[in-house]
């Protein structure tokens, strides 16, 4: 008892720290195990498989090694190059349109005072709707022969369009679907950001004679920078990984006009049974996502001096 009382405080602190660390580790263990099994292992396996000729049917470990052959092959595959270009166009369109539209919706949701929960729910519904069910509905909406969209155009005296069956419009159609589905989610994030800006800044700006536009560009936008960074990064990552609407609505067609990397990787792996090549494409996609995310982070950091 006496000994315990005379224990130096430094030792006691260290012991407490160690036990806290152990507890923290134990708390984190389920998540770490989950992360290792479902994120780290697949990533390592993908890199491993990209150097193998595996058809998914036999044992993966017995698949013959082909070195970097798949990485060379994919650049000679016109369909991969087309899918890569389509993916970039899609990502750029999402980055260009999603954040401003989401911010606009968030601003409206922030301003509206009549049953605000209803409007938030309305914009958030597409986010929680089944992606497959939603894609089937959009396929019907865009159908050139029976779709209500063309009926509406005809009713307005406009020329009906080919939409998902037109190689020039199929990607545009899918961008529209993605915007419709994604705006609600990002608007809610922006809404949280908007509500986190203290009113004091706006009051001070009003006293200084600033108008609504100046307030938006000099208070709202700069203070939303952390939110915008998150939105931009998430929009880009989600766009790079786009799959379901592309698979259900157009299956990449017509003539690969809406084929994106996620879909082509899936087809190569599970339709063409070429897991090695698909894995090489997946590694390229992974690198692209990392590069674009790092670029966005740096781009935002460089503009910290507001």
């Amino acid at each position: 008892m006496k000994e315990g009382q005379t224990k130096p405080p430094e030792k006691r602190r260290k012991k407490r720290l160690e036990s806290h660390r152990l507890a923290a580790f134990l708390f984190l263990s389920p998540a770490l195990v989950f992360f290792a099994i479902f994120f780290v292992f697949p990533l390592v396996a993908t890199v491993y498989l990209s150097g193998r000729e595996w058809d998914l049917l036999g044992p993966a470990l017995e698949a013959p090694g082909v070195g970097f052959r798949h990485y060379v092959e994919i650049w000679q595959d016109d369909r991969f190059v087309k899918a890569l270009i389509n993916t970039f166009l899609y990502v750029l369109a999402c980055i260009a349109f999603m954040p401003p539209l989401a911010l606009g919706v968030a601003w409206m949701l922030n301003e509206v005072k009549v049953v605000p929960w209803f409007w938030r729910l309305l914009f958030f519904l597409p986010v929680v709707t089944s992606s497959v069910a939603m894609s089937l509905v959009w396929q019907y909406i865009f159908d050139p022969t029976y779709g209500p969209l063309n009926e509406a155009l005809k009713a307005l005296g406009l020329r009906p369009l080919g939409w998902i069956m037109d190689p020039d419009l199929s990607l545009v159609s899918l961008i529209i679907v993605s915007l419709w589905q994604g705006i609600g989610y990002h608007a809610i994030i922006y809404l949280a950001g908007l509500q986190g800006i203290p009113d004091d800044y706006y009051e001070a700006a009003t006293i200084d004679g600033a108008g609504a536009v100046r307030k938006f560009f000099h208070i709202t936008l700069p203070l939303l920078k952390p939110t915008s960074l998150f939105v931009f990064v998430m929009v880009a990552i989600n766009a790079f990984q786009a799959f379901t609407p592309f698979y259900v609505i157009t299956n990449g067609g017509p003539i690969d006009s809406s084929n994106v990397l996620g879909l082509y990787i899936y087809k190569t792996a599970f339709d063409f049974l070429n897991m090695g090549k698909a894995s090489a494409m997946a590694v390229v996609l992974f690198v692209l996502v990392v590069l674009v995310s790092v670029f966005q982070l740096r781009w935002f950091r460089r503009r910290e001096e507001f």
Binding site: P30, V33, R159, P254
Partner: protein, 449 residues
Amino acid sequence: MKKLALFVLAACLLIAGCSGGKSGGNGDGGASSPGASSGTGSGEPVTLRILTHWDAANTNAFLQKVAAYKDANPNVTIQVETVPFGDLLKRITASNLSGGGADIYHIYNAWLPELSGSKSIVPAPDAYKSDIVSAYGENIVSSVSYNGQIYGYPTELTGYALNYNKRLFEEAGISAPPGNWDELLDYAQRLTKKENGQTVQQGFGVIIGWDSGVVHPWLTLLQSNGGRFLSEDLSTTELDTPQALEALELYRKLVESGATNPEMGLSNASTTGPYMNNFELGKTAMIIMANWWKGSLQATMGDRFQDVATAPIPVGPSGSKPVSLFYSWLYAISAFSKQQEEAWKFLQWLNSPQGEGQSSIQGDWLMAQGIIPSRLSDQEAHKANLQDDPFMKTYVDLLKDARSFPVIPRAAEITSTLQGHIEQVLYSRATPADALKAASSDIQKLISQ
């Protein structure tokens, strides 16, 4: 005390996390694995699981028909697992990875090279092999064989024929289906209607977005023009021939004349969709299609199905007779099945005549769906039905000269590649000559790999 509680809570979370992961791992639910479900000795309970792509109605009809097997073999239970056609091969690969899955796979013969090469399915044992060889036509046996091995019981034959709407033909003053490409082009134009520049009725329909739906009909035109897709030994493409150029030129002419509108050819992941709706609703006058869609047409069109008629593939300028294309399906046994002998026994029972001169249960079931059975005794037993049914008769007659879609490795990628090049012409993005040159080069590369 506080620390102890902290540790206990953390340990509980860890245990819960681990056990949660385990319980979530079994995706299939319900049926136990083949190995665990039973032994193979007589009298021990056996559950035979069949993996296929049938719809619910056909599955129920099948289970009713095979109930008799349970009467004779009380220890055997037959279960059917169905997935959409597009997911069937994926399910088989997933089963392989887990080392389990169904005992019997109902598979498309184009998958034979991959499934047999990876030893996912087993060759028929000698006793069943001789049964198959003696009961089916040579070309059918050949379509379920690869590298000299027979891999299962052939089930159905699917061929292609020209389907047309008699009512639309009558309205256009056309008395008979086209027999050659000049007539096809002429009739297709006469059967096309436009309103305000928009096609409201197309003369000849094509399918877009579904590889086989695009490729197979075009190959029937190529073959009916004296051409071939691949050489006899399957080692080279024959797409760089005048016959192939003429066949793709036909598509170009149909599109340029407005008689074919590719935008009306959308298909979905279930291989149905607007291309089918357009034919059912009388917005497409002619289309080359497989016999399996008869059941769907009947169900959707009701009384209007009597407007539907079938005709041989129109013959091209370089051809001498209609040469259609067929593919077949087979029941194969999974290499992972622990009850292969029971499975072969069941398949033999299912495909054997129920009595002298009678059809097999499989034959009856196929005929009920409007599908041509491949067993000779089934065709004989249903001869009257096959010949009396004008829709089916065309398909049956065409089978005599029809060629099987090549059973080669990478068939799916080859089909998808050719699909892309045909669609390029249908959308006027490439000339037939350029599309064929590119297709020939791309496919040759795939064959050579």
